[in-house]
Amino acid sequence: MSKKDVLEQKCPSCGAPMRYDAASGKLVCDWCGTVLDIEDQESPSESPQQEPEEKVSGFDYEAIKNQVIDKDALELPIYHCKSCGAELISAWEQVSLTCPYCRNNIVLTDKLAGSLRPDGIVPFNISSDELPGAVTRFYKNKKLLPKGFFSRASMGNVTGLYVPFWVFEGRLEGNVNFGATKSISYRQGDYRVTDTKHYSLSREVSLDFDQLPVDASERLDDALMDSLEPFDLRAVKDFDPAYLAGFAADRFDAPASNVEARAKQRMLNTAYASARNQCAGYDSVNERGGNIMAQVKARYLLLPVYIFDIIEGRKNYSLAVNGQSGKVVGELPNDRAYNLKYFLLRAGAVLGAFMLYSVARYFMGA
């Protein structure tokens, strides 16, 4: 194992570890109350051993992947906590962690160097204190939530995590072909005649997409990450490791083919739908394929997400919160028995009221 460089944010007043405070957007020392602006911070005292390589523009995964630490490697990197001297081994995708011994916030700079350095970061806007309220609002008005769920459930450990995303922009251009029909009916003697005219349609479209995020972390559920959209990318800041203080962070590890394919498929689906919308005035329109070319490029951003479980008895329900907007998404309990009871109660109430009404009318002679 080889020892690697780390970055620690220390309070200049008392030397305690500082953390990034989402509420104020600054670095905060919980010991002496010192507050520092991130922009005022100097470059880290220990620079990474690797020279920063020229940034690869566009989404050139082939060039970048050479920088990826092989996760099957037998040798895992060892990091050294500067506060307590503890030796730390991280998961290969982790770029930021907290020392389990002295709670020091550590940034693993080798995983953020050169081409691995994110193009930007959206800092947390929601603090962890606000999470219980957000979760309560999430569960409110969910009528199919089993009774007593709130009283039985508890919030598991909350992880504030910067999730790696590739944010795509691109242009799609090409043809989409359709078959369409128009019909008219008229009477001819004793017969009703229907004339159907068949058409071949072609629509050449061009669409520009912007700021389409696709999460690049294999370990995180794609559905969960997609559901957290939208992120307001106008709040993107230039990357500074100081933002990571107090939060975990991952770097991209999803294969390029997956990420780009997902992005392109979403764009293609939208392109085909837009072309179909241009086929008005027909009784039926059926798609017959097309030829659309895509030119895309991407930038690598870290976006803020809180991840935690809601534990109810033996069941864990994974929730995620958009660390910028506070949007909560996640699994919800599905109690079939409760669902059936919900339906039957309402159906039964209407049936009962109707029968009562019918009986009353019968005895009134109606």
């Binding site: 349609l201 969960l224 939208p230 919900y342």
Partner: protein
């Protein structure tokens, strides 16, 4: 000199501009719009010009525009066969019409689809009523075979002009006050007819036909025979019997009845020929020459019979329903060449029609006009239950059982109950028949004639009911439906006794509690309906609640991230047309009258004119 010339030119220009304006103001139509629209060039130039000329003459004479349109197959398909809408579009686009109200008739004819449409606008729509339009629409296409498309359009013009001429003549012969109504486009309700195209007899005329029809004066000949058998279809005995029967009816009712047979109608429509025979031979009694005349035309190419009614009273009795029944009776005899028998049976229906208002009347129906005093059948006996099983539904035992039950209920609740079955409602509606039966058979107890009639008819799954007094108050629509419902299953299975037994039970319960019991199946149906409603509501509530329980899903669209969209090019290429046909015959209207009875088809005309101009009704059939 120059000044004079300038003045002349100016005057000429003013006049040439003013004349068309004056023409518009005076109501003359715009000559620029074509009066014949023939985009498919179906007509030769000569025929087309002829129609245009006729149209102009027509317009000037009647102050009404007339436009002809020959519709191509493509145009017909484009308008989806709605020629009425096409006529409206043409009328508006071409700005046709005479005068301020733009009086016009638009005639459309599609030769390929053999579809015809006649539309009137403005004053023309007031003058030319729907019956006449229907008549023209039925007649005109018939000219295509012999005269081509020109013939169809020309016939439309001629029929319209004939109609308008008759209207004008009818005005001239009427008292001034009625004439005024007619000129305003309103026709009095009765007595005034607009003649069809009278067809003068060409060539040989029947011996009784007047030389001068125009100068003919109506007369009454008491001695004229009531049977004139020119076709020799009756035996001497039959002829004598018919003559005697006719005079019986005349003496009893004061209305005439005449039977006339001939081998030809001399080119006239049979109803016109029959009417002419009646009018020109002094038949009919009273100022309106009341009476019926039956013609048997034995022309091998046009064999049929026709009944013509004259006079307002007779015509009021000779409804389509009555005439259908009478024609049905006569038809059965005519097809089997039993003419004498048939006429004698027919004369019974005439007597019934004259005396009771319906051609087939039951014995208990009093004569019309007779003073009827309502009575109680069971006078002195109190309320009773009766059974009158004319249709033979019940065995003796069943009849006794029903009678006993009816009697018991009757005594308990103080109402009359009658169970009546019959195979014949004598041409009346069953509801009317039941009501008259109740009335004229003295049913009902007490001052309010409390009682209930339960009636059944063969092959009918419906229990008919009529009630009065206290029973009527309880026989609400709901109760009636429940009784009918309970009986329907039995009647469907030809279980008449069970049906009437059930009806009596329901009646008893209704008299006791005010309501008829609901059947179990009815409650089950209500439960099912309630369950369905509950299911819909429960499902909707559950669906709404479920929609808030969405779990995370991967996104398939990037619509929110579209910055710009451009449609660079589009092309729509027509490939081909496929056609499918479904056999779907439209409901045919009877075209001013027509019905069926006894397996034949009757043609009924509520109003037409004979050659004398007098108004008649008619009904008849070919055989």
């Amino acid at each position: 000199m120059k000044r004079k010339a300038a003045l002349l030119i100016a005057a000429f220009m003013i006049i040439s501009l003013a004349l068309p304006l004056a023409a518009f103001a005076g109501g003359l139509y715009d000559e620029a719009s074509p009066r014949l629209i023939d985009s498919g060039e179906a007509l030769d130039e000569a025929y087309a010009q002829d129609l245009i000329n006729e149209s102009q003459l027509f317009s000037e004479k009647y102050e009404m525009d007339i436009v002809f349109v020959i519709v191509t197959p493509d145009e017909y398909r484009d308008c989806r066969g709605r020629l009425g809408s096409m006529a409206d579009d043409i009328y508006d686009a071409g700005r046709y019409g005479w005068g301020e109200d733009r009086s016009a008739a638009i005639v459309l004819w599609c030769p390929e689809y053999e579809e015809y449409h006649y539309q009137a606008y403005g004053r023309a729509s007031e003058l030319i009523d729907e019956d006449e339009i229907e008549f023209i629409s039925e007649r005109s296409p018939g000219y295509q075979e012999e005269y081509g498309d020109w013939g169809v359009l020309y016939a439309s013009l001629r029929l319209t002009s004939n109609y308008l001429d008759d209207l004008s003549e009818a005005v001239n012969t009427l008292p001034p006050d009625i004439a005024g109504l007619l000129q305003d486009g309103q026709l009095p309700d009765q007595g005034l007819t607009v003649s069809e195209d009278p067809q003068p007899i060409s060539g040989e005329k029947p011996y009784w036909y007047p030389e001068n029809v125009a100068g003919f004066q109506f007369f009454h000949d008491e001695n004229a025979p009531r049977v004139v058998d020119n076709a020799d279809i009756f035996t001497p005995e039959e002829e004598a019997a018919i003559e005697a029967r006719a005079w019986e009816i005349i003496e009893r009712t004061g209305k005439d009845v005449v039977v006339f047979t001939d081998t030809s109608s001399y080119g006239l429509e049979q109803n016109v020929y029959c009417a002419d025979f009646y009018d020109f031979n002094g038949y009919g009694f009273g100022p309106e020459r009341e009476g019926l005349c039956l013609l048997f035309c034995m022309d091998p190419n046009d064999r049929g019979f026709m009944t013509v009614a004259t006079g307002s009273e007779t015509r009021a009795l000779f409804t389509q329903s009555s005439s259908n029944s009478m024609d049905g009776l006569l038809y059965d005899y005519a097809v089997s060449a039993r003419y004498g028998e048939g006429v004698l049976s027919w004369m019974d229906t005439v007597e019934s029609l004259y005396t009771k208002g319906v051609p087939f009347a039951p014995d208990w129906l009093p004569d019309a006009g007779e003073g009827f005093v309502r009575f109680h059948r069971g006078e002195g006996k109190g309320p009773s239950g009766y059974i009158d099983d004319k249709a033979g539904f019940f065995t003796e035992e069943e009849a006794r059982a029903l009678s006993a039950k009816a009697e018991r209920i009757s005594r308990e609740y103080g109402i009359d109950i009658l169970i009546h079955t019959t195979r014949d409602s004598y041409g009346m509606s069953r509801t009317e028949y039941n009501e008259l039966y109740y009335l004229y058979n003295g049913l009902g107890e007490g001052d309010s004639y409390d009682g209930m009639l339960l009636a059944g008819y063969p092959y009918s799954a419906r229990m008919y009911m009529y009630s009065e007094g206290s029973v009527s108050a309880k026989l609400t629509e709901v109760n009636r439906e429940r009784i009918e419902d309970h009986c329907a299953d039995h009647l469907n299975d030809y279980e008449e006794y069970e049906a009437f037994d059930t009806a009596l039970d329901d009646l008893e319960h209704m008299m006791k509690t005010g309501r008829v019991q609901r059947s179990l199946s009815s409650w089950i149906g209500t439960g099912a309906l309630g369950s369905a409603l509950g299911g819909i509501f429960g499902g909707a509530s559950f669906g709404a609640a479920k929609s808030t329980m969405k779990t995370p899903r991967t996104k398939t669209s990037a619509r929110e991230y579209v910055r710009s969209f451009r449609l660079l090019n589009q092309s729509d290429v027509f490939l081909y047309t496929s056609t499918s046909s479904v056999y779907d015959p439209p409901q045919r209207s009877s075209g001013g009258g027509g019905g069926s009875g006894g397996g034949h088809s009757s043609s009924y005309h509520s109003s037409f004119s004979g050659s004398s101009g007098a108004s008649h009704s008619s009904s008849g059939s070919k055989f």
